[in-house]
Every structure is written in structure tokens, then in C-alpha cells.
Amino acid sequence: MQIFNWLFPAKTDDVRSTAKDRMRSMLTHDRLELPAGRLETLEEELMAVVGRYFELDKDTTHFDLQQYERRASLIANFRLLRSKC
């Protein structure tokens, strides 16, 4: 058993999911003709706007583009701590 593990080591790095993740992100940008970095800028600006009204838990704020049937959705999830008003 040991010798077989040594002869045929099990793969630890999963190239397949790396490829899939890169592919998904690349096609989302391609389909929207979205230049690299634009999403990050949007995220910062949105955070600033929401941040004027609420105190945010920045560690759990989630910002993502998801694809369904070749259409992208912008998913923004702001964890609010308290109102600033």
C-alpha cells in the first residue's frame, strides 16, 4: 500500500477546478465586455455609498458576478452593523 502511494502519488492540486474557475471569470468578463479591474472599482464605489448610510462589516461583505443561462447577475451582499443616521 505504502509503495503504491509512493509510486503513484495522489494529486493534491486540482487543475480541473482551477481551469473551470478561470474560465468562468474570463467568460463573464468577455460576455459583458468588462475590462479587468472595473468590477473592483465598482465594489469600492458601492462600498463607499452604502458606507455613508451604514457601518459595514467589511470582512463578510461579498461581491460577485454570477452567470445563469449566459446572463450575468451582480450579487452584492453587505453585512450591516448599524445605521449611521
Binding site: F8, K11, V15, K20, M23, R24, Q67
Partner: protein, 271 residues
């Protein structure tokens, strides 16, 4: 008669468009229907070689469009299947030799003569591609499970979507599939590619050295029994004709004795 015009396209070059066109053509014709194969790769003619018909080409598609000959004179009959013909591309001209209107008219004429008209598109998304899709009712998108090929296929799907009024349906053929690499998590699976592209699957063709041998012989593999890639193409032809054929189990071939021994000792490893 009004046949179906199906364009075979991929965006990226070298993924197997022409091989697929030849094989699907032979497989379809073997089911009894009449088929015309149209080589739209003007300037880079290759479909005649794959069909083993290169010595019989007299006239070509550009000759027909420019009225130097009749359509029937340019069509080359297959050696084995009398219901299969090839309309060769011109070798000395380029993509600007024909336009979309002329292609529409040509496809219209061909589909009055044949049950199926398969148009082998050139690589790229420029005029050659635009001409190839101009007269098409349906499309087959060919890709391999590699990132660059999938990206280009996505671009093509976007362009086909924009022509929804003319191109009613498009389906994917995943070519050069390597089940062992997928099992090793080294390559995207069929489901991964379908999920990413959100597209319907027409078939999966495994990587097969016999394809190279068949190309060298000028005999498309789908006419040969006992070869998995050939069976894959015959299944594709049946699905095109509307039959419900299950995607074949590609994993079984890898159950070689060495694989079985290794799996016995360490089920997580495959060779």
C-alpha cells in the same frame, strides 16, 4: 425538397472542424439521407483531402458563384456513398471571393437538392465565418476541453445568439476528450464545459489516434466499425436526425489491467 443547412464552426482553428464535417457527413449519409458537404474555407481547402477526393476536384464553390460552371458540375460524389457529395473550396482565392448573399442563394439551391447541407466554416469570426453562417438554419459548435478553445466557442455562441432569427438551433460537440485526464482532475469535464457555456450537447468525441490514420487514408473514421471516435460520430448523426441516443460511456476504456490493479490498492489514483 427542403433540407437542413447546418454550419459547423468553432472560432478557434485546429479543434477538428473539418474532421468533424467529414465524419458527420459520412455518418449522416450512411443512415440513408442525401448529404452535401460544403467547404467554405476558401484559400485553405482541406475537406477534399479528408474525404479522399482531392484527385476528383474539377470546379469549386467560387466557380459556381462566379458562374463558370453549374452547381452540379462542381459537386464531387463520394467514392463509397453515392448519396454524399462535396462542394470543394477554391484553393487559390480568399474569403472575399464570395459574399453572404451569394452563400444564402447557394445554400438555398443546395437544400432543394439534398436532405442535409453541412457547411464547414473557416476558423475566425471575420468574413469567412459570416459567409459560412449566412445560409444556415442550424449550427454545430466544435470545441475541445481546452481553455482557449472554450473561450472562442463562447464567442461564436454569442454571435450565433445574435442571429437567432435565422439560426434556430445550435449544439456543442466536445472533441478530443480525454477521460483519463478528467478522472485525474487535470482537465475540464463534459459537464464543466456545458455548465460554463450554457449550451446543449450534441456529442462527445474521444481523442483517438485512429483519426490521424483515417485522415492519412482519406477515409473518414465514422465509416469504420470498432473505433470509438467513429461510433461517437455515428451517434452524433443519429441525434441530428432526431433520435434519442445516450452519450456513450467514455470511462470504460480506461479500465485496463494496470488501472484495475492500481485502483485496487489506491482507489484515488488512476493511471
Amino acid at each position: 425538397m427542403s433540407g437542413r443547412v447546418i454550419v459547423i464552426t468553432s472560432g478557434k482553428g485546429g479543434v477538428g472542424k473539418t474532421t468533424a464535417s467529414a465524419n458527420i457527413g459520412v455518418a449522416l449519409a450512411s443512415t440513408g439521407v442525401s448529404v452535401a458537404l460544403v467547404d467554405m474555407d476558401i484559400g485553405l481547402r482541406n475537406l477534399d483531402i479528408l474525404m479522399g477526393l482531392e484527385n476528383r476536384v474539377v470546379y469549386n464553390l467560387v466557380d459556381v458563384v462566379e458562374e463558370r460552371c453549374k452547381l452540379r458540375q462542381a459537386l464531387v460524389k463520394d467514392k463509397k456513398l453515392p448519396n454524399l457529395s462535396l462542394l470543394p473550396a477554391a484553393q487559390t482565392r480568399d474569403k472575399s471571393a464570395v459574399n453572404a448573399e451569394q452563400m444564402k442563394a447557394l445554400c438555398g439551391e443546395l437544400k432543394s437538392m439534398y436532405d442535409f447541407v453541412l457547411v464547414d466554416s473557416p476558423a475566425g469570426i471575420e468574413q469567412g465565418f459570416q459567409n459560412a453562417v449566412a445560409g444556415a438554419d442550424e449550427a454545430i459548435v466544435i470545441t475541445t476541453p481546452e481553455m482557449s478553445a472554450v473561450r472562442d466557442a463562447d464567442r461564436i455562441i454569442g454571435l450565433l445568439e445574435a442571429r437567432k432569427d435565422e439560426i434556430k438551433e445550435y449544439r456543442l460537440v466536445l472533441n478530443r476528450y480525454r477521460p483519463t485526464m478528467v478522472a485525474n482532475n487535470d482537465m475540464m469535464s463534459v459537464d464543466d464545459v456545458l455548465e460554463i457555456l450554457s449550451v446543449k450537447l450534441l456529442g462527445v468525441v474521444p481523442e483517438d489516434e485512429d483519426i490521424i490514420i483515417s485522415t492519412n487514408k482519406g477515409e473518414p473514421i465514422s465509416g469504420t466499425d470498432n473505433i470509438r471516435a467513429g461510433l461517437a460520430y455515428r451517434n452524433i448523426a443519429r441525434r441530428i436526425r432526431g433520435e434519442d441516443v445516450a452519450i456513450m460511456d467514455l470511462e470504460s476504456k480506461n479500465s485496463t489491467w494496470i488501472n484495475k490493479i492500481v485502483s485496487f490498492f489506491n482507489p484515488t489514483v488512476r493511471v
